[in-house]
Amino acid sequence: MAPAIEILGLEKSYMVGFWRKRPKRALHPLQLSVEEGEVFGFLGPNGAGKTTTLKLLMGLVFPSAGTARILGQEWTNPEVKAQIGFLPEQPYFYDYLTAHELLDYYGQLSGVAGKDRNRRIAEVLTRVGLTDVKGMQLRKFSKGMLQRAGIAQAILHDPKLVFLDEPMSGLDPLGRREVRDLIEELKQEGKTVFFSTHILSDAEALCDRVGIIHKGELRGVGAVESLTASVQGKIEVVWQGTQVPPSIKALGAEYHVTGDTVRAVMAENQQDAAIDALRRERIRLIAITPLRTSLETYFVEKLQHAQTTAGTTS
């Protein structure tokens, strides 16, 4: 089965400067593919090229080189857009329209038939929780409401593939939870979701695979599971008190005392020895957990690695 998204070397350079224009690379040639039904997280700090990539895929910006395929078709084919939804970063809509009118207009443009449209609009408004304000002009919407309206227009025409640019930005914790739930639902419905964010915990929780982009270059791609796999078989042991039994110290474990608990990191095979030591001293064991790299660590590592090997900045 063809991948939902295939990015084949898309790149973008801008000419900057006032008098003598020099090229500035916003995106180095990008090779990336996303399978159908996946939730893919596109991670990177601000200005890394996430939005540029999305704008290229949407045909809002033309690439300096490279092509892409969406759902098996050329990415520039207008017909394929009937099957994708897009939520831009910090969306802005026609503020003189009401939510209902906006969705009606977008529905018309996406080719949703008249009879279905009203039904779909009602469904989608309920889903994002905007039914009460459907008759209110968008200029009166709060940021959170606008974000929800944006999601509504992205899924209105029941697309197979949804692109979200920083969908959580500017939302309060409740709003963020709602968006996370929605992305989960979309995945359940078998849709492919491609979203960009710089909030790693969201990516960790939602994505099947992530890609990390920095300064226009893709630094790493992989399944979240494997990227945060256990680190060299280490474990973390947590116990009550402030004592550290000498036998544990003898194991060469690192330990930190915080308040009334001690956390120690040691090799997996030292687990039994540690448990015995604590029992002998009658120290209460709180927890033993396998140590996993967080996505954050992976992220920072990749970025630092890139900086030291790359040397020059682009």
Binding site: E74, T76, N77, P78
Partner: protein
């Protein structure tokens, strides 16, 4: 990218075709509306009203009206029209929008006064226009010249002409020829020399092509008039000496010790008729001549500037 290329091709074709078609149509529209720029004058011919409608941009409007004037005259003259009814309003509007539009006065002097088909046939309005110019530009001697010009050429009022030239010569920085002209008007108004001076000055002081061509035609006519007069006198002398008319131009030329047969400014020999009249070979080529025309001559073509460069 294929769709984009197709749109580009279609849009480019559409652009080029519609551009070509709109230009073509524009030319057709111009043919349907030959008096286009005159519509304004036909409906709004009060200078005061035009000035108000110019919203303060009277200088620019004056230039536009002046250009329209020149085009109007040139177009009609070329098409051998018989009347120039809109010339006076056009000039009046142009000069009221900008009283310092000196070329307009000169144009009025050359073409408002002469009778149709050489001009608008309105010497009274011409005088008024010149006077208006003088009133608004008292330090400009050329406007006195223009006024004197009208009195001399069209009204043949040599006394008034002399008067005007005299006044004009008193303007500071007036050209010395003004004094000369004043004197000549007073005493030798009817001379060829006076007329020649006037038309030469007209030719030299204007850069407008209609005025220059007109002046040149008058000078050619003067040349012919002068030559014909001289030749006619020669015929008379011949008759007095020999008691008969010369049998040919060659005989006359020999008797007068001329260098070859006399020719007109175009290089065609003059014709000596059986009755002893000196005539032009091609009178149609000299619009303003008063002598050397066959009896009962009527201008077959209407006035045109014959001068070739």
């Amino acid at each position: 990218m294929r769709t984009r290329r197709r749109v580009t091709v279609v849009a480019s074709l559409c652009l080029v075709t519609s551009m070509a078609l709109s230009v073509l149509l524009l030319r057709r529209i111009d043919q349907v509306r030959p008096q286009a720029t005159l519509e304004d004058v036909l409906y709004v011919n009060s200078p005061k009203l035009v000035k108000r409608l110019s919203l303060g941009f009277s200088g620019l409007m004056a230039c536009i009206y002046w250009t329209r004037t020149v085009q109007y005259f040139g177009h009609r003259h070329y098409n051998h029209e018989q009347s120039y009814n809109e010339l006076a309003p056009l000039l009046e509007i142009a000069t009221s929008l900008d009283p310092q539009l000196l070329p307009a006065y000169q144009f009025g002097a050359s073409f408002l006064a002469p009778a149709p088909p050489n001009g608008a046939g309105e010497p009274g309005r011409a005088i008024e226009l010149m006077q208006y110019g003088i009133d608004h530009n008292p330090d400009n001697w050329q406007l006195y010249y223009n006024l004197g010009f009208v009195y001399y050429t069209e009204l043949h009022d040599y006394k008034k002409a002399a008067d005007v030239f005299a006044r004009g010569s008193q303007v500071p920085d007036a050209h010395p020829s003004m004094k000369v002209m004043a004197a000549r008007m007073a005493e030798h108004a009817g001379d060829f020399e006076t007329a020649r001076m006037l038309w030469t000055a007209s030719y030299q002081t204007s850069r407008e092509s209609n005025i220059r061509k007109n002046a040149l035609e008058h000078l050619r006519a003067l040349s012919v008039d002068e030559q014909v007069t001289q030749l006619q006198a020669a015929v008379t002398r011949f008759g007095e000496r020999s008691g008969r008319l010369p049998s040919s131009m060659a005989e006359l030329a020999a008797a007068e010790h001329m260098n070859g047969v006399p020719i007109d400014p175009d290089g065609n020999p003059y014709v000596l008729t059986r009755e002893g009249r000196i005539q032009l070979a091609k009178p149609d080529d000299f619009p303003f001549v008063t002598k050397g025309l066959p009896p009962g001559y009527k201008p077959s073509a209407l006035p045109r500037f014959h001068v070739k460069g």
